[in-house]
């Protein structure tokens, strides 16, 4: 088990190295120069251009730039090209904002998918099963921002509360309880929207997994023994059906950065996805690359954790 862990860890490191090269090349080789972002600005003289290129090492060969970029990243000296602030500090602040949405969204996803998936599986072919299947497909198929606007219109009309941004302007001096209420109202819609796609996929997966389990021999044996249906399904069945989901805890990690660009843009939520989008617009290469790098690290860490968890929960896999 130890040898597997060490081997898999080093494999992940090698993968990360190649990812760092590819993402660097994708961004740096794209046509157009970051120094040309504002060519019509009269204050931006050719001398400034030279200074700018020198300041950000853009005049050096590509491999030197690669080395300098990652050296700065790991020593924490990396500065944004846009406002000269340290990139890691900026990202830390934004990640804290996104973390709220991510946690609430994940909580909603996992607490809704299991009941829906399990009852759909136990009542296979019933109205509930077909209805939840259909709704799951609708949720996967609807363009996210279109659905967001429908929900915003409904909530704003029905409850007359502001939902855009992280808090209402001018609420900073209100009572604690009002501020909490305000915060919750602002979080409801974006976190539900982030959860919906996950609910659709996860509940389908739970259903499939549960269906496979309840046709196993040991379930029939438990039934034949005369146990009540609840004990059979929830004690014998669910425990075994849960196995693959333990590993999915690792796989949700990358969702922290991945799925939030559009939703954070709609709700003007100052999170990491929106920061990535702003960085792309401003051609702020250090920020783009760092976010890309962090999300690759999250993906790799997620698969690593899920491999380890799998070995912990399923003794058959232990090597």
């Amino acid at each position: 088990m130890l040898s597997f862990t060490v081997r898999s860890f080093f494999q992940k490191l090698v993968t990360l190295f190649f990812i760092s090269i590819i993402s660097f090349l994708v961004v740096y080789l794209a046509p157009g120069k970051p120094s040309q972002i504002d060519p019509l600005n009269p204050k931006f003289t050719p001398e400034d251009l030279v200074r700018y290129r020198k300041e950000f090492n853009l005049d050096k060969p590509l491999y030197v730039q690669y080395y300098l970029y990652y050296r700065n990243l790991f020593s924490g000296q990396l500065k944004s090209w846009k406002d000269n602030q340290p990139v890691m500090d900026k990202i830390k602040e934004r990640v804290m904002n996104s973390l709220w949405l991510f946690l609430v969204g994940t909580l909603i996803t996992w607490s809704l998918s299991f009941p829906v998936g399990i009852s759909a599986a136990l009542r296979r072919g019933s109205f509930f099963d077909r209805f939840s299947t259909f709704i799951a497909y609708v949720l996967i198929s609807i363009p996210g921002f279109f659905f967001a606007y429908i929900l915003i219109e409904l909530v704003v009309r029905a409850f007359n509360v502001p939902v855009i941004g992280m808090y209402t302007f001018g609420m900073a001096k209100a009572d604690f309880i009002y501020r909490v209420m305000d915060r919750i109202w602002h979080m409801v819609l974006p976190s539900i929207l982030m959860a919906l796609g996950g609910i659709a996929l996860l509940s389908r997966y739970v259903r499939a997994q549960m269906l496979e389990i309840i046709h196993q021999d040991y379930i029939r044996t438990a039934m034949a023994k005369g146990l009540s249906a609840d004990v059979v399904y929830y004690k014998h069945g669910l425990r075994n059906a849960l196995l693959p989901f333990v590993t999915m805890f690792g796989l949700i990690l990358p969702g922290l950065i991945g799925g939030s660009v559009i939703i954070e843009s709609i709700f003007a939520w100052p999170g990491i996805g929106r920061m990535a989008f702003e960085a792309i617009l401003a051609r702020d290469y250090p920020v783009i690359l760092t976010i890309n790098f962090i999300s690759a690290v999250l993906v790799l860490a997620g698969t690593f954790i899920s491999d380890l968890l799998y070995m912990v929960v399923d003794p058959r896999i232990r090597l």
């Binding site: 046509p31 157009g32 690759a296």
Partner: protein, 386 residues
């Protein structure tokens, strides 16, 4: 004579042999949702083709680009104002079936044009990803056990370095590196030629031709690397950095979504490679190309078809998402995605500008998803006659 009767008697007790497609259709037909998906799928195809025919040409029946500033933001089914609009500028039947947008353009005409463009974006993107997936997956599955020689690794590295230098605009070093690539390839070609002739000369150079990793490792590690990128963010980055064009969007979506297909095809090929009919084909002396494309591919294509169907749906949604962020298909082409994104500013004044394209995308993407899932069940050998 005796023989034939025996076979007939034997066949009598067995189940009737049913062609695979008939069997698949029997399972598919039972799935009501999937059948509806297929019906909408076909209807969408007809709409898209007629949209292409009706909105192109010198004097199209439906003109999606005609601006009538006096007829802004009209509700669906509003008749045209005959006093303000010249006879040549009027929509067909003198009525705006789906209303007009903020420039007074006929939304119905734009939707008809957008249907074809959205369909093209989806199909071309998926076509690119399927072609890459089949080629890489086929190589990894069929030739996976071959090991790459050290010299060939050097050739590959030199080639990629020259491509990168070329892309970064350094012509001179790029040509040098390309020359090194050619030299190395020529060198290894001569080595292989001499080794095949059986001479003793090339034996000394064997140290340059030791085995490194396998083809399978190379391709599958590359798949792993590509899967680590957050896909929407990667697409957004590339599309935003490249100049805006409909082709770039199709190519970028295609180039970032082939990993699933590669995995399916490889997995199928790994199991097919060991089967008797492939050994028989090899024993008959068929070429590798013929074995791969005529004998193995038809057996491996089912999961690819399913993932392609769902891939088209995903590509249409991705295009809509890009349009919303302002990086979708640029203006001369209308797509459902950019009509939807354009209607966002008028959500309270002209809600139909969002609901019409939004619900259309929902219906079409839903039908692709349902049809794809139905196809998966129908082609799944586990579900055939129990």
């Amino acid at each position: 004579m005796q023989n034939t009767r025996n076979t007939e008697e034997l066949a009598h007790g067995l189940a009737e042999e049913v062609p695979r497609l008939t069997e698949a259709w029997r399972i598919f037909r039972k799935n009501t949702l999937a059948v509806w998906g297929l019906v909408i799928f076909i209807a969408f195809f007809i709409v898209a083709v007629s949209g292409l025919l009706l909105t192109t040409g010198e004097n199209p029946v439906l003109d999606p680009a005609k601006v009538r500033l006096s007829e802004k933001l009209l509700r669906p089914l509003t008749p045209v104002n005959t006093e303000m609009v010249k006879p040549g500028d009027r929509p067909v039947f003198g009525i705006y079936l789906l209303g007009t947008d903020d420039l007074g353009r006929d939304v119905f005409a734009r939707m008809m044009q957008g249907a074809w463009v959205s369909l093209t974006v989806g199909f071309v993107a998926v076509g690119i990803s399927v072609i890459i997936g089949i080629i890489l997956g086929g190589i990894a599955g069929y030739y996976g056990r071959l090991r790459i020689k050290f010299m060939h690794v050097l050739c590959l590295i030199a080639f990629f370095v020259s491509m990168i230098l070329l892309a970064s605009g350094q012509r001179g070093p790029a040509l040098d590196s390309l020359a090194v690539t050619l030299l190395l390839s020529a060198f290894s070609a001569v080595y292989h030629y001499l080794a095949a002739k059986g001479g003793t000369g090339p034996k000394i150079l064997d140290f340059l031709f030791f085995d490194t990793f396998s083809v399978d490792t190379l391709i599958m590690r590359f798949v792993d690397i590509m899967l680590c990128f957050p896909s929407f963010f990667l697409i957004l980055t590339i599309v935003a950095l490249l100049p805006a064009s409909i082709y770039n969007i199709m190519i970028v979506i295609g180039l970032t979504s082939w990993m699933g297909t590669t995995r399916f095809v490889r997995a199928e090929f790994l199991s097919l490679r060991e089967q008797d009919f492939v050994s028989a084909a090899k024993a008959m002396g068929l070429s590798d190309i013929s074995i791969i494309f005529r004998h193995m591919m038809p057996n491996a294509i089912a999961p690819v078809l399913v993932s392609a169907t769902i891939g088209v749906a995903m590509a249409i949604l991705t295009e809509a998402g890009l349009s919303f962020l302002g990086f979708g298909v640029p203006p001369p082409h209308a797509t459902w995605g950019n009509i939807l994104a354009g209607g966002e500013s008028f959500i309270f004044d002209a809600p139909w500008l969002m609901y019409i394209p939004g619900l259309s995308i929902l219906t079409v993407v839903l039908s692709f998803n349902l049809f794809g899932e139905g196809l998966r069940d129908a082609l799944n050998p586990k579900l055939r006659k129990r």
